[in-house]
């Protein structure tokens, strides 16, 4: 079952007076439970695709269907709700809320959902914290954690709402290779046990090896799939 479907997606934007063609008609689909990598050099269009699947950007032309919803047709409010309920994000620079501790950062999306009772919330948080191996860092602020630990918090935060898809934009780019591998292994493990769909961008061939579905891009076009 396709959970993501892109059909002839184009994205053009202006950079000063220059028209930049970020995507030049990209079509592919990702199935539920995939551990998919979008690979390619810088400027290939990896982030643009992730942004569209993440409902934070819309195509200039073509269609992006997520869980059968055309994101171009959704209002800003619906897109916000869509992101909260169906998507999880892992950023390259972790993007944790600096004033909240590990527990609170992970709790944040659940608080936005408002419909999860405190006790249940606590259970979910404890479980994901254990899953990412941060039980001894619950009360630490992001500034007190290493890069790998911060990315684990980001993974936990992305997983806590039990989303359909977890999007990770170059999740290992700011980590050393060993930590990067551990993070990818963790993501892969969650994908295997929870059947959560992961879509991540990378230009690291070693990371790509973990993916069961690789979409290779160059200059805004798919070169291999």
């Amino acid at each position: 079952m396709n959970i993501v479907e892109l059909t002839d997606v184009k994205k053009t934007y202006m950079l000063g007076n220059t028209e930049v063609h970020a995507l030049r008609g990209v079509s592919f689909s990702i199935e539920k439970g995939d551990f998919a990598a979008i690979a390619g050099p810088s400027g290939a269009g990896k982030s643009t695709i992730l942004n569209m699947i993440g409902c934070i950007d819309i195509p200039t032309d073509g269609k992006v269907l997520i869980d059968e919803d055309d994101i171009s047709m959704l209002s800003d409010k619906r897109l916000t709700s869509f992101r909260l309920h169906k998507l999880g994000f892992i950023f390259q620079s972790f993007n944790l809320i600096p004033v909240l501790n590990v527990y609170e950062n992970i709790e944040f999306p659940l608080l936005l959902k408002r419909d999860v009772p405190k006790k249940q919330r606590d259970g979910i948080i404890r479980r994901v914290i254990e899953e990412v191996g941060l039980t001894d860092r619950v009360n630490n602020k992001p500034a007190e954690l290493s890069g790998g630990q911060r990315q684990r918090v980001a993974i936990a935060r992305a997983l806590v709402t039990n989303p359909l898809i977890v999007l990770a934009d170059e999740p290992t780019a700011n980590l050393d290779s060993e930590t990067g591998h551990r993070i990818v292994n963790l993501m892969k493990e969650i994908n295997r046990t929870e059947h959560t769909t992961f879509i991540f961008s990378t230009h690291d061939p070693h990371i790509m090896e973990h993916a069961n579905h690789v979409i290779k891009l160059r200059d805004g076009m798919i070169t291999a799939e």
Partner: protein
């Protein structure tokens, strides 16, 4: 309430900037509370000083007068209230009126002997007053020598009362220093141009209790001496022979010549004549009873005023601009406060925008995760409201302490400022809860206004920014 937690956390994280803004808001609040209370107290004391020492609650004056009454009409006296007894009787009939006193203001010449034995002429600025009522009404002077025209002795003594400062000045400039009981000659120019001279005595020397700058040079004359000096003493109308009255009332020459055949025309028996004191008063200062609304009462007095030929001027109109000084001060304090708060609002706005710029990735992440724009709004609004309300409360506490201290020891104002503002002396401000409430309200309103534009900027940060900022 996670937005509140983030807001507080962000405040604690940016301590130096927060303290800077907090101090600014605190300073603005102190200016509002202390300045407001200072101005309010000055306004209240100014009103009280004018009413107690210069005008009463309102002044009655002749309907024929083209000039408005004022505290300093010496060089340009108002028109006399001719029927002053009638007007006084009318005023006595109103239960709302507590007391009144009639007076006039003028300038005369005093002829006296100096230390070398030469006669010199000295200018005398004075209020001509009713000795019986004046000091019960205006408590603006204290006698240091002699009596206030025999007050307290059981009989009225005519003459002049001069201020101690005036006496010193006479001594310096003319070599004349008056003692109580010194004989003097007063000169006055009556309306027809005749110069009248009245021999009288110095009855006392006083010091002013309020408005020293003015009362140091304003002296007093009793109304009888004043009437004599300006020919306000005349023959009682009823005691004149009928033929003479008819002659005086004749409308044309024929009537006058018609009276020529009268046998007794022109014969006046001096023994039959009675003297009467015509009014030399130009103003009557009136106090209303406590709780009486002066403005409303003056409206109810309009009918009598028209019937008896007088006009009224409330204290502020009759204060000759003194009432406007405290109003102007209040206006200045309001303007200064507004200016400070515009500056505070601009700095606050600027700081918030910098704050938002620095936190673009954080806002974008929050939005990407699924927070609505309203969440971002609440987050920034709580941040600024918490900071400003805490700083505002600190400002109120500091102001309250300052006001309590100033309320005990008083604020020493520069001499002339104090004189014109409150009639002299220290100013003792009082803290009112209304001002405190107003200050808090102003802070909240300014905070919200200053946050509107930065909030617009913050809510326009897209989740896309989180992706791009992080790289």
């Amino acid at each position: 309430m996670v937005f509140f937690k983030i807001a507080i956390g962000s405040l604690l994280k940016r301590k130096r900037r927060v303290i800077g803004i907090g101090l600014l808001v605190m300073f603005g609040t102190i200016l509002i509370v202390f300045g407001q209370e200072f101005a309010l107290t000055a306004n209240k004391l100014s009103k009280q000083a004018i009413i107690d020492n210069l005008t009463g609650d309102f002044i009655v004056y002749s309907a024929r007068s083209k000039e408005k009454p004022g505290p300093y009409t010496f060089s340009n006296p108002l028109t006399n209230i001719e029927n002053v007894d009638e007007v006084k009787a009318v005023l006595s009939g109103y239960k709302e009126i507590e007391a009144f006193t009639a007076y006039s203001q003028n300038i005369s010449i005093v002829n006296a002997e100096n230390k070398e034995g030469t006669r010199v002429e000295l200018p005398l600025i004075y209020s001509a007053v009713e000795p019986e009522t004046y000091l019960d009404f205006f408590k603006n002077i204290e006698m240091v020598e002699g009596t206030f025209f025999g007050r307290g002795t059981g009989r009225t003594e005519g003459g002049i009362i001069i201020s101690e400062a005036q006496n010193d000045r006479y001594d310096e400039q003319y070599g004349v220093r008056f003692e109580v009981g010194d004989p003097i000659t007063l000169y006055g120019i009556a309306s027809g141009g005749a110069v009248n001279a009245v021999k009288t005595t110095v009855q006392g020397i006083f010091i002013p209790l309020k408005y020293e700058n003015s009362f140091n040079y304003i002296n007093f004359m009793d109304v009888s001496t004043y009437s004599e000096l300006y020919n306000f003493t005349g023959v009682a109308e009823g005691s004149l022979p009928d033929q003479l009255t008819e002659t005086l009332l004749a409308e044309n020459e024929d009537d006058i010549f018609g009276l020529a055949s009268e046998e007794n025309l022109g014969i006046i028996n001096v023994d039959d004549l009675e003297s009467t004191t015509l009014s030399g008063f130009t103003m009557i200062a009136v106090h209303v009873k406590e709780g009486v609304d002066t403005a409303a009462f003056l409206e109810s007095l309009a009918g009598s005023a028209e019937r008896y030929g007088f006009k009224t001027a409330p204290w502020d109109e009759a204060s000759g601009g003194l009432a406007r000084i405290s109003g102007a001060l209040q206006g200045f304090i309001y303007a200064a406060t507004a200016l400070i708060f515009i500056i505070v609002a601009l700095i606050l706005m600027n700081t918030l925008i910098i704050n938002i710029m620095e936190r673009t990735a954080e806002i974008g992440t929050i939005r990407a995760i699924g927070a609505k724009k309203s969440f971002v709004t609440l987050m920034f609004l709580s941040e600024t409201i918490v900071l400003n309300v805490i700083a505002g409360i600190a400002g109120i506490v500091v102001s309250a302490i300052l006001i309590l201290i100033a309320g005990r020891v008083g604020i020493a104002l520069p001499g002339p400022v104090s004189q014109f503002l409150i009639g002299g002396g220290r100013l003792y401000p009082v803290l009112s809860f209304v001002t405190v409430g107003q200050a808090l309200l102003i802070i909240v309103v300014i905070t919200i206004l200053a946050t509107l534009y930065p909030l617009r900027v913050a809510t326009r940060v897209t989740p896309l920014k989180a992706m791009s900022e992080g790289k």
